[in-house]
Symmetry: C2
Subunit: 339 residues, 2 copies
């Protein structure tokens, strides 16, 4: 972040015809967008919403309330326009890409092919690393390459993958050092017994991958042990977006895992991020705090797909418009408060 | 509210391709919009944003951080397109009306004339009632008449009036019985000394208008004692909107006063309301709770003007689109969770 630019933008915000700070978090958002773009008058255009889908070996252990085949079914639903993220992308003019990063089913003809394995999801992390480091790097590269040449200057992140809150919990534990129990939640809706089972499976995954939680473990080791193909691909897209000064809109717990991995690989990515919301997944808010991200919405969302990013999206162009179009006390001839 | 309709809409929401309740407060919003419109498939069109402006006799007592002439200056700024609400109305396609309900300045040629007094704001409520009951009724009638024949099926409420948080605090005290001290906040940004002064002035206003806080006081007596012309006019527009099954989007503390008065006059108005946000004005959240309204946004906004209503607006058509356009488990062929 550029302190001179920050001071100039803050001064502009303070001279707008409103009490200082009266637009609350929207003023902080406008400042953040200006700093990401490196420009006093940030503008957003042609936002891209990338939904990465993949399956997880861990889901064979029954860590999700939903069966594994739902990943492929929801990819089809997204492409047919019936998923929440499809509806919201239409509603808000977001260009939607649904990428198959490793769905355990025959490829959907309309999904963007981004697999690093010909078939199947990740391996079962409760037994072995979810993937090799080479595969993790290949996912990252695919995500980065996808962004190349895409129009626009904003990237919204979304995901689909039965069992991927389990993967994200393991990544949070390994990357932040938060006790595992505090990283694990109910995902799409586990009951108490289901939650206890999920915690036990994840403890086995930690034990099965000692190198990933050893002091000084490399982010690649963490990614290979616990990652999902969709999470790594999103991390690659986020990494490229940050390098290109695109605004990254983070959705829920799983896309937070993606930007946290990108941040671990390339410190500074988080400065290009805007957190759309704090989800109902309990650990999500804590992880956002670790990354220094303040969520815009608090609506008890727990769907993923990028639905929260899409719901929050209109706040971003609104913040730009306020910064760029509001009159100042001087230009409007409005009296200021008594000193 | 129609319990059969509520059950049908809830069933539709539960059959959508997402875990039950995974869209959190957006599902509750979709249900509410359906109940307001009396229709399983709510749709919104041609939203009207009514900003009512007026001056307050109380502001002569120094209850605001800003000088009294700012009301007229901000009316001009809104009409010139430089105020926050002007920017947001353009951004989100809201038809903006700026009404002069009693600004203490020569009428602005482009403001919609809705004065009940030829000149001046309300009387000083710390000495006498702010207005007569006949004037309160005339304001209400003007607000109701304004809505007649307006297109669309949604009304967003906004206001401008230096000193009007003081008026709203008095109304909250009289209408809810909340101790006065808990109804009074910093408004546009009072310091500790300013806040103490405001509380003392408002205590004098309560003492000067004993009939307004007597047991069983009529809403008209409350409105006349403590009201602002802009608050009463908004109450009228809200009352008419509820009768016509239009959705009312409440902004901050002052527009909450307007719908609370409308509710006191005509119980049920609150069921037509959606609370856009919980403002930084401390008493606002409590008052929303009294009215059974759950705020959508929590962004520390404290500007008024309708800016919070305008910022929250996109969530409403998004909620409708999700209810109307998402696929169901059956139509999309998506597997459900294990029983």
């Amino acid at each position: 972040p550029d302190p001179d630019l920050a001071a100039r933008v803050q001064h502009r915000l303070n001279r707008k015809t409103k009490p200082q700070g009266a637009l609350g978090a929207i003023e902080a958002l406008a400042l953040r967008l200006a700093l990401i773009q490196g420009h006093e008058a940030p503008r957003l255009h042609a936002p891209q919403l990338l939904v990465c889908a993949a399956d997880h070996g861990l889901s064979r252990q029954g860590t999700s309330a939903y069966p594994r085949e739902v990943t492929a079914q929801m990819v089809a639903n997204m492409l047919q326009g019936g998923a929440a993220v499809s509806v919201l992308a239409r509603q808000h003019g977001l260009a939607l890409t649904v990428a198959d990063c490793g769905v355990d089913a025959p490829p959907h003809p309309e999904a963007t092919p981004m697999r690093v394995r010909a078939a199947g999801g990740t391996d079962d992390a409760s037994l072995v690393p979810a993937m090799t480091e080479a595969e993790a790097q290949a996912c990252l590269a695919r995500g980065m390459a996808w962004l190349e040449g895409r129009p626009g200057n904003a990237l919204l992140l979304g995901e689909m993958g039965i069992g991927n809150t389990a993967s994200a919990s393991l990544l949070m534990h390994a990357l932040t050092g938060t006790p595992l129990v505090d990283c694990v939640g109910r995902g799409t809706g586990l009951d108490d017994a289901g939650l206890a089972h999920k915690r036990a499976v994840l403890a086995r995954a930690v034990a099965a991958n000692p190198g990933a939680t050893a002091p000084g473990a490399s982010p690649w080791a963490v990614a290979a042990a616990f990652g999902g193909f969709e999470i790594l691909t999103l991390a690659g897209a986020a990494l490229a977006a940050a390098a290109q000064r695109r605004v990254i809109v983070v959705d829920g717990f799983i896309t937070t895992a993606a930007v946290a991995l990108a941040e671990a690989l390339c410190p500074g990515v988080r400065h290009a991020c805007v957190a759309a919301h704090a989800s109902a997944e309990a650990a999500h808010r804590a992880w956002l705090g670790h990354l220094g991200l303040a969520p815009l919405l608090q609506l008890d969302l727990r769907l993923g797909e990028g639905s929260g990013a899409a719901l929050a999206w209109p706040l971003l162009p609104a913040a730009c418009a306020l910064l760029n179009e509001m009159a100042s006390f001087d230009s409007a001839g409005v009296s200021e408060r008594a000193a």
